[in-house]
């Protein structure tokens, strides 16, 4: 490290019961440096950051800081306020914003004294406007957070940190919900601040971003630091090997042979509902043996499309044909028609958390003869069935009798995959199937979807991750504001503009 140090984590260790979540981790950050922190879920990234922010008390180790004049001091442990006072800021992956506040109030929250009958927000407003100008992160000051897009909310999160004059900014998966253009402008803004001396710890799963944006990369694996290198010397393969600890390649798509049409939507419109944007005249065909990818930022109609195909809502107009027959889909007929569903919110809609793993695995076919007889569940058969599926799909956890909510996100997703794919559905609706999963679990999901395609299933892949859509889909659609458009382009920028509802870089900002 050639830059003046600003932050140093030394030997940080945290044990949760038998699990060593962080094992003597050393990490140095220089002034004006972007350090990317990589690792699979459970590798220790969050634990490490929680120790830095005083949320957890480390079992061993210390955090050191250097002030402007280069003097070193130790950060008191287990005190969030100490981290804030030391001007360390964090932008969490899940935003921490109150939706009923204005942008200005969100930023000021916690910076003003409580017991004053009058607030003077003018100096704050001016400082914030200046910050927006210099950082390029612009948001309307009086807008309610609840009315902002996710991209705007992210900007508010960063402004919150900048307003407190942070010297170290931690960004946890900052681009998970952004369009490629929004991500680009975020990186440009952060890069500008880094040039002015801000230091950044950047946590991400997206290798492409890490390689493009960071100066240095540190990889965690199983609570230990697996390696560290300058970004200029790294490539995707080296990093993945470090993260996973072995050679691992992403599954590859080979040319497929699309068959007959299994699903056709024409002119389908759906009225907006609670937390659901409308669909406007959506039409597409899905053939067997192909994957169609639906790219787009969440909240543009994907939820309505997924609910429609799951039979949870009915279209206002238009027709849905399954295997050539017009069908009215209800949850029951959708299942019977051979539509397998991998829901967007796997914890909420994918499993019943309080039921066991085994029970969740038969949830969609409780009246099948091998599951129940005369209304009674065949417990032994269900357990046997669960053991088999967990083995085949590598679902790991405390056992098949454990409650499903105890599984990790990746294992819940594998459980859902097992339940869906076991029935060899003709149509698979995969809504954000790899969101939040680490590299290995995501690769497993992708491999299973490609397998289903090879078997002759038609797959609808709804995803915010453009890289995933590009690598898996045979045909690509873009969803924006309830409209669905097919594109033959495989150019990230061009699809990105479509995701933002624009035709090209010239259109309105």
């Amino acid at each position: 490290m050639d830059k003046a140090p600003i932050l140093s984590l030394r030997g940080l260790t945290k044990r949760f019961g038998p699990v060593l979540a962080a094992d003597h981790i050393d990490l140095d950050l220089g002034r004006g440096e972007v350090l990317a922190l990589l690792g699979e879920n459970g590798a220790g990234k969050t634990t490490l950051m929680n120790m830095l922010f005083g949320q957890y008390l480390p079992d061993a180790g210390s955090v050191h800081l250097w002030d402007e004049a280069g003097r070193e001091r130790e950060l008191p442990q287990g005190q969030p306020q100490a981290a804030i006072d030391a001007r360390i800021g964090m932008v969490h992956q899940h935003f921490t914003l109150a939706e009923n506040l204005s942008v200005l109030d969100s930023v000021l929250l916690g910076t003003e004294p409580f017991w004053r009958p009058f607030r003077n927000r003018r100096p704050a407003r001016e400082k914030l406007l200046e910050l927006m100008e210099s950082s390029g992160l612009r948001v309307p000051l009086e807008a309610r957070i609840g009315d902002l897009s996710v991209g705007e909310r992210q900007r508010v999160e960063i402004l919150k940190a900048l307003y407190r004059d942070v010297r170290v900014l931690v960004l946890d998966e900052p681009t998970a919900v952004l369009t490629p253009q929004e991500a680009e402008s975020l990186f440009a803004a952060v890069r500008g601040m880094v040039d002015d001396g801000l230091s950044v710890i950047f946590i991400s799963h997206k290798l492409r971003e890490v390689l493009a944006f960071s100066d240095r990369i540190a990889v965690l694996r199983h609570g230990k630091k697996a390696g560290e290198m300058a970004t200029s010397e790294a490539d995707a393969e080296i990093i993945i090997r470090m993260m996973v600890g072995e050679d691992h390649s992403a599954p590859e798509r080979v040319a497929g042979k699309p068959g007959e049409v299994v699903l056709r939507l024409s002119g389908v419109s759906v009225a907006p509902g609670k937390e659901m944007r409308p669909l406007r005249e959506v039409g597409f065909t899905l053939r067997s043996g192909e994957i169609i990818g639906i790219a787009g930022v969440s909240g543009n109609g994907q939820t309505a499309l997924a609910r429609l195909l799951s039979g949870l809502i009915q279209p206002q107009s238009g027709t849905v044909e399954v295997a050539g027959q017009p069908r009215k889909l209800t949850p029951k007929t959708a299942l019977r028609a051979g539509i397998g569903r991998i829901p967007e919110d796997r914890h909420q809609d994918g499993v019943v958390g309080d039921l066991s793993v085994a029970e969740n695995l038969v949830l969609e076919r409780l009246d099948a003869p091998d599951v129940s007889k005369a209304g009674f569940l065949r417990q032994r058969a269900i357990a046997e069935h669960a053991r088999e599926l967990c083995r085949d799909y590598d679902v790991r956890g405390p056992g098949i009798e454990a409650e499903a909510k105890l599984l990790s996100g990746g294992n819940i997703q594998k459980l859902i995959l097992a339940r869906v794919l076991e029935n060899a559905p003709q149509i698979i609706l995969a809504n954000q199937p790899t969101r939040g999963l680490d590299f290995r679990a995501a690769a497993e999901v992708s491999r299973r979807l490609l397998e289903a395609r090879a078997r002759g299933a038609g797959v609808i892949l709804i995803s915010e991750d453009l890289d995933e859509v590009l690598s898996l889909a045979d045909r690509i659609f873009v969803m924006h504001d309830g409209h669905l458009r097919e594109t033959t382009s495989r150019d990230r920028a061009e699809i990105g503009y479509m995701m933002a509802g624009q035709t090209g870089p010239g259109a309105a900002a």
Partner: protein, 314 residues
């Protein structure tokens, strides 16, 4: 029919509306504070009883009227603190704790009253707040009787509407209370204490609720008797939804209920021969339910209402 319309033209009707609304104004404001911070306080009915009893008893034992008001507020705050400890740091069910507080507070108030006055058959009276007789203003036609012949506690209620509105809308504290009822994570991430904010709001809100009770024994009537709160606390829980958690609308809701109640008394005398009196007694409640159905379907609840928060958990 004309007779019924004439009711609205009498100053006594409007004066009664405001008088009936006064305890509700305190109650709705208190419930509003608690719920804005994310805590439902179903202890309100019991806290009303406690406020009514302790305020009255303090005066009966020789304290001044305003001291009685203070005693009522403090005892309300105490029960609020109890509810807050159970629901905020301990994270217990707000419904269960609140109902428990109501049962406990109601019984304790009655128990204390019976223990202190074992042998009374008719409730002892105190000298309650008198109507303020403001020179000139109270002589005004119509406005005089409606506004300026009310008691000081009614004026305190109206003043509290302004105070709560100011705090919620104009101070950093209010912003933080609103934030903690929407996203405690946001409050925590900004270095503020979720626990302190929530406990503080529940304690302050409960003190206001107790003032609603004190109004009954120290302004509307002059004695304490069992069952006198008679569901007013529950009405406040409904009114706060009607008010969309806004102080101005809370005032409006309380006044509407006061009007319905004042109206039904007068209708009983006007039309009592034709319709059983019970129908009129039901009227304010039925109208409240209708108003609630119309308004509450669109109500935007504080997002973190009823959700306990623990540090380091999502």
């Amino acid at each position: 029919m004309m007779d019924i319309l004439n009711i609205f033209l009498t100053d006594s009707f409007w004066a009664a509306s405001l008088r009936i609304a006064s305890p509700l104004i305190f109650g709705v404001l208190g419930a509003l504070l608690c719920e804005r911070a994310g805590v439902l306080n179903l202890g309100i009915e019991g806290i009303f009883v406690v406020g009514a009893m302790t305020g009255w008893m303090a005066v009966w034992m020789g304290a001044g009227l305003w001291t009685g008001v203070l005693v009522a507020a403090l005892s309300g705050a105490l029960f609020g603190l109890f509810h807050a400890i159970l629901t905020v740091p301990l994270g217990l069910s707000q419904h269960v704790s609140g109902l428990g507080i109501t049962l406990f507070a109601t019984s304790l108030a009655s128990f204390t009253y019976r223990t202190a006055l074992p042998q009374v058959s008719s409730p002892p009276r105190i000298e309650p707040f008198r109507a303020l007789d403001i020179p000139v203003l109270s002589e005004l036609p119509f406005l005089g009787p409606v506004l300026f012949q009310q008691t000081a506690l009614t004026w305190l209620a109206l003043l509290m509407v302004g105070v709560v509105w100011w705090v919620m809308d104009r101070t950093a504290l209010g912003v933080a209370i609103k934030a903690v009822g929407d996203s405690p994570d946001a409050v925590n991430a900004q270095g503020l204490s979720v626990m302190k904010l929530r406990i503080g709001a529940v304690v302050a809100g409960s003190a206001l609720m107790a003032l609603g009770g004190a109004f009954l024994t120290m302004s509307a009537f002059d004695a304490f008797f069992f069952g006198m709160v008679n569901g007013r606390g529950w009405i406040c829980i409904a009114l706060v939804i009607f008010a969309s958690w806004r102080p101005g609308k809370a005032l409006l809701g309380a006044l509407l209920f006061g009007m319905f109640d004042a109206l039904q008394v007068r209708l009983q005398t006007e039309a009592g021969a034709l319709v059983p009196g019970q129908v009129f007694l039901m009227m304010p409640y039925i109208l409240s339910i209708i108003a609630l159905v119309v308004v509450a379907r669109k109500a935007e609840y504080p997002r973190a209402l009823l959700v306990p928060w623990r540090k380091g958990q999502r």
